[in-house]
Symmetry: C2
Subunit: 470 residues, 2 copies
């Protein structure tokens, strides 16, 4: 990522500065020109960059110094308080699970699989191939690359129940990641101030997207076999909501998969109530003991709107997702996403298509399943050994996480802090609840780096937990 | 973009089908296996793809045929009418200026520069370099790559008025394109149902983003020297609006640049009224007779929120923009954009940074200026010659477009159609007005493909126009 000679000098000087005391004087421009064999223009440019970054300061006529205190006078942005008004929704600045932590921390907090679980070789060769194509200079259609649309449709069609009409490439919209899709779906199908049912617990990113749109969330309790369907029906009737957001397969955070009976019943209910089921098949590629069985493959009446991301299974650098929706719903969502992002970068779409159509993709998915099985079981065993207080309602048949309940009265915030002091990052369950938490939960990700440290992580967790009970 | 052998077969069969009559029978699978030396699995996969695409149909036991009529039974999505309700805002399905047209059409309608105006060599080598880095497997921080943040800050600092404190890398947020930035800025600083001032005419994408957010637009008339500042002040007072969206440099569509006097006055007004100036510096790299002179470089009080896209000047495949905002406004916008898109693909950010830090970037910008000068003047001359009825208020000092007024009573919709029949694509001015049009305008883009056809394009336009007056 660093290519120009001035960027290289910036990086060398930063290294030097990191070991220099505050206030230390940098070598003169002339000296740097001689030392690094660069032009004065290049050296000046590097110094300007470091000044802009607030790392060094120039005292004219004297020299350049490692900054001691912030030199800019403090600005008064107080007037913005009135102009901005109260916050209209509660969006976190950066969600805790998004933090990138130092390597020596045992990271069970994140939602992204470690790179050793990614198809690294396929992604690299796809980028190299796509870099040589004209796609790097071209704009794409708002709905996406036709070949990638067709791939998403054909993937769903592999699960299609006999007798149903198949979704076509035209029913697919390519999105710049599923987060962008959630916003567009909620705006297009629900809208500000309108009610939407949502599983509880569920993905914090969906709760955040709903908050951004201003959707009014109606939580429906969900368990190892899926949501409480009586409650679902009552809530649709009572609120008049026309949409239900859910993870029928390998839910985030619980890993649960809906039973065939629940699946059937949910479909009956949304049809009877004239509502949409918004199916977020985020873990399509993360089946462990079963396969994902999309609800969208059981319906051709346009009641199921289907979202599948490739960011987690191909690469976090490939922000590409596919939406499948039929009827006017699809057009509404496409129009909204165009207003939000115009179109998706062609090379990223081409990389995604390249990876998932290589013969190596199937091989990768098979090896991934084996790795996830081992990691899940390793973490479960470690918890059994070191945290007997942690209750796992059921062994998840897929996904990337364990959702464990701790004894009532556990102070989760304290626990998070105590663990982090001991170099273990965990995620308190609160953000996965659209309303109050139904208990004290942790989400523990078993797809992070270094599964060899799971046992040590569980030991730290157990210790920190028991320190609360003195 | 086409890599697997089944994808290659799909593309070959599509070629064959394009010349085959409807209903023609395809060779048998066995025949295709022999002809193309592929495995039966690969051939079957290709055929399934074509079936999914609705191009061929399989009649079991008989064979595979080029489709005549849609084979899926028509689905009834009528129930969605009630579930979706009336549209909440008016978003175009695909804006006319976004259409990708056949090569034989003279294209003056689009908003994107032709690839011959892009730094093609730099973009290709940047993609090739970035493809070899680990960035293709990594997630980035929500605010973006620190080096790219620093570059956006240093670019603005080159224009900074003496005595002002400089924005730092921390004030910069990297966005997945400026469209996504507009939505986030409008939501974070204005909000649904709240008023926002906007130049009229202005960029249709901003009008669309405002419609999506539900912002209530208050048009302020603008001319060759900038907006009517008395009207601006009155409108802020009257509506209580706290934001004004504008293009101080090389406005889309007019190409106008605010005079120093107007710039000074606008800044005084927004400060006195406690409002934000949202500066969309979309044409930073498209100066012709002058340079872009950002308003954000005249202010360190957080009143100017600055947006600069690289999509038009680097490559339409590189969906990357930089936002510079100070104070809590920056945090609000970042939180909103995270809720909307999480983070921007690292490789795209790395490509953008690579291109703009190459020595060749400066050379490219100088040659681009010369090309834009020639193209602008060529189109102006062609209009003088063939369309004397077209009035150009002033020669734009930068940007990519001419904004010409036609005689009152011109039927623009008819004109667009008549031109398109004669293989000329133009853009009627209506979409650039937040409310009613103040006259009959056309936006003509001089950065499209084949400037050699400008004269012929103007000839067609003149003919079609005069045919309306019999």
């Amino acid at each position: 990522m660093i290519n120009s000679s001035s960027e290289r000098l910036v990086s060398k000087l930063r290294e030097w500065i990191s070991t220099a005391p505050t206030g230390a004087q940098l070598p003169s421009t002339r000296q740097l020109v001689a030392d690094y064999e660069l032009s004065p223009v290049t050296v000046q440019k590097a110094l300007r960059t470091l000044i802009t970054q607030g790392i060094i300061e120039s005292r004219p006529g004297i020299g350049t110094f490692v900054r001691s205190i912030p030199v800019t006078r403090p600005n008064d942005y107080g007037w913005q308080t009135a102009a901005l008004g109260a916050t209209r929704n509660h969006l976190p600045q950066v969600h805790p699970s998004q933090r990138v932590l130092p390597n020596d921390v045992i990271a069970l907090h994140s939602g992204y699989p470690d790179r050793e679980l990614l198809p690294q070789r396929l992604v690299k060769s796809a980028f190299a191939r796509v870099a040589r194509t004209e796609s790097v200079l071209l704009r794409t259609e708002p709905a996406g690359l036709p070949e990638l649309q067709a791939w998403f449709a054909s993937e769903l069609n592999e699960h299609l129940l006999p007798g149903l009409s198949a979704p076509t490439a035209r029913d697919v919209v390519i999105l710049p990641g599923s987060q962008s899709g959630l916003g567009s779906i909620f705006r297009a199908l629900v809208g500000e101030g309108e009610p939407m049912l949502i599983e509880s617990p569920t993905y914090w990113g969906a709760i955040m997207a709903a908050a951004q749109v201003g959707v009014s969330l109606v939580p429906v309790p969900t368990g190892p076999n899926g949501p409480d369907t009586d409650e679902l029906d009552r809530a649709l009737e009572r609120t008049g909501a026309r949409a239900f957001y859910a993870h029928p397969n390998f839910a985030n955070p619980t890993g649960a998969q809906w039973s065939p009976l629940v699946s059937e019943r949910v479909l009956e209910i949304v049809k009877a109530r004239g509502a949409f089921l918004i199916e977020d098949d985020w873990a399509k590629d993360f089946g462990i003991s079963t396969e994902s069985s999309p609800m969208a493959a059981r319906d051709d009446t346009g009641h199921v709107v289907y979202l599948r991301s490739l960011t987690k299974s191909v690469s976090p650098a490939v922000r590409v997702a596919g939406l499948i929706a039929r009827g006017p719903a699809r057009d509404r969502i496409l129009a909204d996403n165009q207003a939000q992002s115009m179109y998706v970068s062609g090379p990223l779409q081409a990389v995604a298509l390249d990876v998932v159509t290589q013969p190596g993709w199937g091989t990768h998915l098979r090896s991934l399943r084996q790795q996830l099985t081992n990691r899940r079981d390793q973490l479960i065993n470690a918890l059994h050994r070191h945290v007997p207080e942690a209750h796992l309602q059921s062994v998840p048949p897929g996904g990337l996480n364990l959702w464990v309940q701790l004894p009532d009265g556990t102070n989760l915030r304290q626990l998070e802090q105590d663990c982090e002091t001991r170099k273990l990052a965990i995620a308190a369950g609160g953000s996965w609840f659209p309303a109050e938490e139904s208990g004290q939960f942790l989400r523990l990700n078993y797809s992070g780096p270094n599964p060899g440290a799971f046992d040590e992580g569980a030991r730290i967790l157990g210790e920190a937990l028991r320190s609360q009970y003195g």
